[in-house]
């Protein structure tokens, strides 16, 4: 019998994978050969999910919370999120303005699929989280890469946004603190960008998943001091990074109710609902004492300082001190030139030869701003950071 050969859709080839997941796969292969892999690859915290959250999950399982929930989430969790976001950002979010999703990625996906149509432009940070570009393209939109510059400490400035928007701009994506650069938008940046968006009636998708990982200053949310947020803001956040719950798959979106109702419909077409017992764990996360994070933040600050110093000591690498998230984005232009390698070739080589996972600053072949950079996630203990840097240095 002849196999089908001609019949894959074209759009399936528009999708990009996420490098972090591709490298995770190769790292597992390398590890299978007995190499102790040190991974600066995937962006997940290394501390354990706090006990009260696990306990709540166990309780929920015992209580038999194992069936479907309402698609937008169990009411108690929606309320808890509304309260948490309101108090954290100084806003007034209501429970029916929240949808619970299986991680924050579906929230990004729903946002783009709900608003972006063929030919619409979406301004996305570059370097940036690859899912933005991939989903914009898939939705038929045109990604407009807003170059975040090293000399601006990778902030997204109102001046650059003003230049990037056109009458076709449907959406601006904010991500601060940023993956992969660690850049943090200042109050004046957020204010200026929101002002442009309001004037030009552009949707702002604000992905604030790293809001707790801030080493200097205070987090400025697009919801803060923004009584008109319902006009044009879609706020995305989740439990993965702050509560170290990446593998639990729990995130959420906040927007005006009519938008949330649409997302509800999209969720009912895809995942039905987020995991039942995990939602109960989520309530525990938001209602437990939040001071556990202080210690974590101070540990992450030490790591940031350690990796920052270490990288700058390696010849051919220079890097700014990132203010947020747990990524650092060193400039390796000189090093790559010396070695005659592209960033992807370089990262693959140190993974296969030295068992160290780093990611290229930009996906292969893309003419993006990050091509002379690497991305390292420093969500790992100081000894490992030092060992990893030693191997890279060699």
């Amino acid at each position: 019998m002849k196999p089908p050969v001609t019949n894959l859709s074209k759009r399936v080839f528009k999708l990009e994978s996420e490098l972090a997941f591709d490298y995770l796969k190769v790292a597992e292969e390398v590890a299978a050969h007995g190499v102790k892999v040190i991974s600066f690859g995937i962006g997940q915290p290394d501390f354990k999910t706090p006990e009260p959250i696990k306990e709540a999950a166990f309780e929920a399982l015992k209580a038999g919370h194992t069936g479907y929930t309402a698609t937008p989430g169990i009411p108690a969790l929606r309320s808890a999120i509304a309260e948490h976001v309101s108090s954290f950002t100084g806003s007034d979010v209501k429970a029916d303005e929240v949808i619970v999703t299986t991680g924050s990625k579906p929230a990004i996906y729903f946002s783009m699929m709900s608003f972006v149509e063929e030919g619409d432009e979406v301004v996305i940070p570059d370097p940036g989280y690859p899912t933005y570009e991939s989903v914009v393209r898939y939705a038929g939109g045109i990604p407009v890469f807003l170059h975040l510059r090293e000399e601006d400490d990778f902030r997204m400035t109102p001046e650059s946004v003003e230049k990037a928007v056109t009458p076709k701009t449907k959406m601006i994506v904010l991500n601060s603190p940023e993956n992969p650069t660690g850049g943090v938008n200042l109050g004046k940046d957020v204010e200026g960008i929101l002002d442009i968006a309001r004037r030009k009636r552009i949707i702002v998708l604000t992905d604030e998943i790293y809001d707790h990982y801030l080493y200097e200053g205070e987090h400025v949310s697009a919801l803060s001091d923004n009584p008109d947020w319902r006009e044009n803001i879609i706020y995305v956040n989740g439990f993965s990074k702050t509560y170290s719950m990446t593998g639990w798959r729990l995130g959420y979106a906040v927007a005006r109710k009519e938008v949330i109702d649409r997302f509800d419909l999209m969720a009912s077409n895809t995942t039905s609902c987020a995991n039942n017992f995990v939602q109960h764990a989520g309530i525990a996360a938001l209602t437990m004492p939040q001071n556990f994070f202080k210690e974590i933040l101070s540990e992450y600050r030490k790591r940031r300082d350690c990796i920052y110093d270490g990288l700058n000591r390696i010849s051919g690498i220079k890097v700014n001190k990132p203010r947020g998230s747990f990524y650092i984005f060193p400039n390796v232009e000189k090093l790559l030139k010396e070695k005659g390698l592209t960033a992807s070739e370089f990262t693959m080589a140190i993974l296969r030869e030295r068992g160290v996972v780093t990611l290229p600053g930009t996906p292969a072949f893309s003419p993006s701003a990050g091509k002379d950079y690497l991305r390292l996630s420093y969500a790992l203990p100081i000894e490992k950071i030092e060992e990893g840097l030693r191997r890279i240095g060699e």
């Binding site: 001609t6 990009e16 479907y68 709900s114 608003f115 949707i203 593998g247 077409n269 987020a274 017992f277």
Partner: protein, 399 residues
């Protein structure tokens, strides 16, 4: 922010969730409602499965997994699928996701292009997300009408007429939601014979009810010679192990697996990590709890079939699988003066306190087929008896 994309406006929903919300609201107001609307087992997840998750959490298996799923689970799924479908499926062909539902969208996305008039055939009545996803992803929905006089089986000549060079995907669902129909090997062979004439045609075989067979035997179209390459098998642990709220489903196809994995990366990153260990426990642990649950559905089917046929104005066929029965209520509608099945459903909910779904939730109306409701009998015998009693009394009182 007034603009919404066209494709979002095209999106349908699964009314089981909408009606469940309605039921919850009524219950909160103190109304006693017997609910036959959502398709989920009324059993709690067996303990050994919960233990699988608890152990994983305690061992710190709470980070991301690779998008395709943990290797142990992919291996276990491959083994399970190979055994139950009597074909040889490799772990590399298997992808895990947040439930079986995402694969409907992934499949349509992977084999059709937007606005290119690519056609997707699906059963009508049928699971509402099929047509919703087909339309939302810009393909052309082509319903295959399942008729009562054919016992809701495929009309092969209808399928033959509707297949053409633009056909890209045929969705099969056996055992079938909402009619409970099970396709036997002979019928699947006839379908396969037609499908094999078209190089560009794939089959999405939604087999999530494969373990719920009351009469006869389950057969997957993937086991028909030549069909495995073309078939995307979709299954999950939700129904078999009472794990709907855990959101673990899987699909298998050698060629499409890597694309499905990329779709997972783009939409959900991965399925829940502890949940994957729970699913692993489910598939590899003792099967007696699951078999006990599955056996109970046969008894419930017998009961609901008997009780429903006793009601004046209601007639139904005996479902061979899944946990749904699809009574024809045309006469009952006339008796109580309901304008159609949806009117009947609403009045049943508000006046009799019985929640069901109506045929308008499962596709487009077929002329001459009359009015139908769907009853999920994944509920206790007491509920079945009490629910049937309420329907009966309500019809008597209102005629």
């Amino acid at each position: 922010m007034s603009f919404l994309s066209e494709r979002t406006k095209n999106l349908g929903t699964e009314n089981a969730f909408v009606v469940t919300q309605e039921v919850n609201d009524l219950q909160r107001k103190g109304r006693n409602i017997i609910s036959f609307c959502i398709g989920q087992p009324d059993f709690d997840t067996p303990n050994y499965i919960k233990e699988g998750a608890i152990k994983a959490i305690n061992e710190g298996k709470t980070g991301y997994t690779v998008s395709a799923g943990i290797p142990e689970l992919r291996k276990a799924v491959a083994k399970y699928l190979s055994q139950t479908r009597r074909i040889n499926i490799s772990p590399d062909s298997v992808v895990i996701a947040n439930g079986a539902k995402p694969f409907i969208g992934y499949a349509v996305l992977s084999v059709t292009d937007y606005g290119q008039k690519h056609e997707v055939l699906y059963p009508n009545p049928g699971f509402p997300i099929y047509s919703s996803q087909v339309a939302a992803q810009g393909a052309v929905p082509v319903p295959l009408n399942l008729l009562e006089r054919n016992s809701y089986s495929f009309d092969i000549s209808d399928l033959k007429r509707k297949l053409n060079k633009r056909s890209r995907l045929l969705i099969l669902n056996s055992p079938h939601n909402p009619t409970g129909r099970v396709l036997n090997r002979e019928e699947l062979e006839q379908i396969a014979e037609l499908v094999l004439n078209y190089d560009d045609l794939w089959v999405l075989s939604d087999e999530v009810y494969c373990k719920m067979i009351h009469d006869g035997e389950f057969c997957s179209i993937a086991s028909i010679p030549g069909m495995q390459e073309k078939t995307i098998i979709v299954d999950g642990v939700s129904k078999t192990y009472a794990m709907t709220g855990w959101r673990i489903g899987f699909a298998s196809n050698e060629r499409l697996a890597s694309f499905f994995s990329t779709w997972v990366t783009n939409t959900d990153s991965c399925a829940g990590h502890p949940n994957q260990y729970a699913a692993l426990a489910a598939l590899t642990g003792p099967q007696d709890m699951s078999q006990m649950m599955l056996r109970s559905y046969v008894e419930r089917r017998n009961l609901v079939f008997k009780e429903m046929n006793k009601i004046k104005g209601v007639r139904c066929l005996s479902p061979a699988g899944a946990f749904y029965i699809w009574p024809n209520v045309s006469e009952a509608c006339k008796l109580v003066g309901a304008s159609d099945s949806e009117d009947f459903r609403k009045r049943l909910l508000y006046e009799a306190g019985v929640a069901v779904l109506s045929d308008v939730h499962f596709g487009t109306r077929i002329s001459g087929e009359g009015e139908h409701i769907r009853i999920s009998y994944a509920t206790s015998k007491e509920n079945i008896i009490e629910g049937a009693r309420r329907i009966k009394e309500w019809i008597e009182k209102n005629k």
